[in-house]
Symmetry: D2
Subunit: 341 residues, 4 copies
């Protein structure tokens, strides 16, 4: 069965597996003190043009988000996100489990609007009883968003400006960062992104690694962050597993090269659907494509092509997500073309 | 440099890496719904002779301990452990972070004493103000303990009996389970252990895997355990990474075979130290050996052999830990022998 | 200055103060084991026609809400409330501080709609990834709502039915319960309310007491509730203070009698504003009246009458709240009438 | 029945009740913004000779302790206390419920030893794996202790010095502060105590109030402390209840005067027991007296005199606590004398 259900259906880029084998019996200390992690950190700092950044390698996305958020918030603060933000919906309340509220704003194709953020903050501090409420403590964005969309540089700058005015750290969840940066629609570079936020993540799990999310605190990590990671159960004993993967991904631009493959395949996939007259739920410039699928099409693909159904339109068409990845091949797109009515 | 600092200085058993490569491009669903995890679960259930067990594969030890403990305790309950228990000392308060106290008993070479446990529970319920106190909610043991020691079957049964009498789940932390079961001093089998506790873990990280701890709820998992795992940031997107590793380790007894190697090397290492007149801090039957090292010996090994120093004796000798693992070779023991004065 | 800012600007009903004096030197055990609390519990059970209910007396509203909610929810569950619900906005994230998300529905003049609740629950369980999300674990309503509005018996029954279908406890926050039950618009009795929910509170703080909220678990309290109360810092050492107050309030219907005074004054106040041509923001049948106040009126009242401003209309009028209480006198309404342009 | 079970068996000092009545209908804002609280704060600052102190009035002891501790600790920090400290035993894990471990030291008649504290901190930072452990984040003492004992000024200074060296805030729980300060054995004044710690509490509940604990941050409160109090459910709507009580207690030295009564009665009680040949469990200089009671004595008092039994000696004598309070009369001591064999 051909599967476009998500971008983590396969293992790792072969270069990673080869590196795991090559280094397997080298004895290294645990907990991120190994030479691979040190090298990965250095390469990530260089790629971000952020020599003063603190880089940590964690295992999974939800873990990374809730660890970062808890490390940045005061007890009475919450994280501001759009209603469709991953932390607001699909992380089983991991942020709340650490004691913090997720404060939500309406999404616009998955994105936060800077002026709405500003208005919300103005309203908060204008409220006579704001001291009885959860304080906005940081702003959380995903790049790309859960709907595959991207913030423009101008949009990020506008949000950044609001954050500055209210002294709020800006956290960009880059679980699919590579797929954002490699999109032809993206007008921001990794360096620029690093310059615009206080902390961001570079997703490995969905971009060629077996697991792993790199956390980049552009201006230095919060106090005791290592121990916070440990306390959250996010510290890998064999940190080498993460170090080797990120060191490989950030050698000779592999991370970006394989991310571009996903984008190329996604654009082919989008063109394919459009050419056959399907409508898009929204026009995503990244590796997640949202297609309105008729019942007939669904019937034709059944048992042959897997994808995700997000919801249903009033007219009965399914809002579906087709995701490509670093591993998607042109042959898989062709096979889909052959099956699609 | 020869390193005996811990049992996670190297990568994974080669069979695991080969399996990762062989299965790399097979498309599988995430979050433990893959075929490898299904197969691993089945094999683990069979190895435990526990067909009704619920098996989950998590990533790391601290994560696994705090997730299990939080899933079993009522809000006002705590986990009973010895003072040297891993959850009581070296997990950065991960249990407390989930809101629960660790209630401690004195350790005996790292072990809990059943009669002391019973006395503590009797005292608790005899206290007129026990409703103002944290209720004992489960009993936590490690097997082997943090000092490499093992509970005998009789000792486990005695603790089990106390747990039954007070309706307390018994949780056995098997981060180094293989090294316990393969010790010549061990008189309990995996099946027997499974029969004696409500939940236990099978450590992968320290016994040949890159990462991974299998959780076995012998009588079924607590309600919503999958979501609890997610909430704790312990759900791996590419669950295949864990599935493949445990499926490989539980094929043809690989887990036990490689654990035995560590034990064989540890016994050689112990014999080596004893033969040269060194004293043991305690007589460990597993892969962690605790040696009293003179200053002269420490000076001779400096820069050539790495090990851990736990504390110092009044006479100046260091209490050191030398750990062997699935990957330790007879050549490494010989090399140590050549260097040891 | 005449104040209508809220319903807790004054002390306690004189009968309570007299009772405190009369019983002052009687020696009684602490923590709710005193004879006054026992008597109060019995009277509350009788008033609710709920002989099997468990009644606890806590100190304040936010404390009571978060203690109840935490006692009822599984770790991965959240409380469903409307966006304007007190727990969702004005309790400083006390619910999230205990690890639980507040899941919100749109409010209708402060009320939850049963069919929207049902649709939300259907959508949740229809979502393929619901196990990655926070489970709805209880339904929270306030009666009266934060906007002074009331659920009809039919509305409560409809919500109750949805709760039953999804096995969700129904929790009614009665911080102003008396003011709801004594409203001429109220078609539900205390007995009926008790019969419709799993737990509700009887607010003392806003209805004649110095402090205190009675918690009524109609079908019995959750396990270890006493200790949960202690753990939340909500257990009063001198429980007699709460016992005496509720015992007095539930003797000869004092609670209802003084609540009716607030309603009578509120209806006079509403009539006053309407008679002078002011518009209501919404038509509240209870002790909180929401008036649209022109700038001219505000200027006229400035420094003479205190009230709360909630927000501003696009036309510049203020949405104001005038609250009456058990202690509001006809003279105060007359004084307001004399000042109001 | 004559009761010496605890120091909170009766209501409030009559002056407080009179003041409640006198001010009852005065309209004041809630949440501690009332004139009584403002006045109480000023008087407390003056009594402590601490003009820059931030003073908050909370309701109960456990609540106050866990709110203060959570406000001062970083997520990975714990509170250092002796094993018999109230927060370590009798607060139902309220501190752990906020995510923090209580790190314990051995008690010496309920007291912490400065040199043991220092040794513990040295050991912590000397441990190679301290970053995997809970950091000591503050030091908690009770004054008097749970065993009625007092720290001398020299002992407090020694502990203070260790705290300074490790940059740890010192928190003194004064639930029975008055009974400590008024003891003839006390060599520290309120001003001196304030100068020696970063935060301390002045217990009202046990010293003449219906409820209430004053929190004094000698160098200013932590950020957002008001909202933290709200989040912990510790913010009283009718803050006047606390304001009036503390304002009364700190007018003309009433707090100290009534505390002295308890001490006078306690010394008479102690003398009585000693004169009849009873042994003390320990020699307490404050209002809690710990007497070793024979079975015969217990039989003689049964049904006539109430007291608390803490534990039993190997010889069968009960370790009992007899507590006096602001309200204990010389007649009650005489009545006990008449009954005691």
């Amino acid at each position: 069965m051909l599967s476009f259900t998500c971008d983590y259906t396969q293992g790792a880029h072969p270069a990673i597996l080869e590196r795991l084998i090559a280094t397997n019996l080298q004895q290294e200390p645990g907990y991120g003190e190994d030479v691979f992690t040190a090298s990965a950190r250095e390469k990530i700092r260089a790629a971000c043009a952020c020599p003063g950044a603190d880089v940590y390698l964690l295992v999974g996305g939800t873990q990374t988000n809730s660890t970062i958020i808890a490390s940045l918030l005061h007890d009475v603060e919450g994280a501001v996100a759009v209603e469709t933000g991953h932390i607001a919906v699909h992380e089983a309340g991991a942020v709340e489990y650490t004691g913090h509220k997720v404060l939500t704003l309406p999404p616009h194709q998955g994105k936060m609007d800077a002026s709405e953020l500003k208005a919300c903050l103005e309203r908060f501090y204008a409220d006579a009883s704001f001291e009885h409420m959860v304080f906005p403590g940081l702003v959380y964005l995903s790049f790309p968003t859960e709907y595959g969309t991207l913030y423009s540089k101008a949009e990020l700058k506008a949000i950044r400006e609001v954050c500055r005015a209210y002294d709020l750290p800006l956290f960009v969840d880059g679980a699919r960062l590579g797929y954002g940066l490699m999109s032809p629609a993206c007008d921001v570079t990794l360096e620029e992104l690093a310059g615009l936020c206080d902390v961001f993540t570079i997703g490995g799990t969905k971009v060629g690694a077996l697991c792993g999310e790199a956390v980049v605190f552009t201006g230095g990590a919060p106090k005791h962050f290592f121990t916070i990671v440990k306390q959250h159960g996010a510290l890998l004993a064999k940190g080498r597993l993460l170090g080797i993967q990120f060191d490989t991904l950030f050698t000779d631009g592999l991370y970006f090269e394989i991310a571009r493959n996903a984008i190329d395949r996604a654009m082919e996939l989008k063109a394919l659907f459009l050419s056959k007259g399907y409508e898009l739920f929204l026009d995503s410039p990244t590796n997640q494509q949202f297609i309105l699928l008729t019942k007939e099409a669904a019937a034709a693909l059944e048992g042959k092509v897997a994808y995700e159904v997000w919801e249903y339109m009033p007219d009965g068409r399914a809002v579906t997500r087709f995701a490509t990845s670093w591993a998607t091949t042109p042959e898989q797109i062709s096979a889909l073309a052959a099956l699609l009515p």
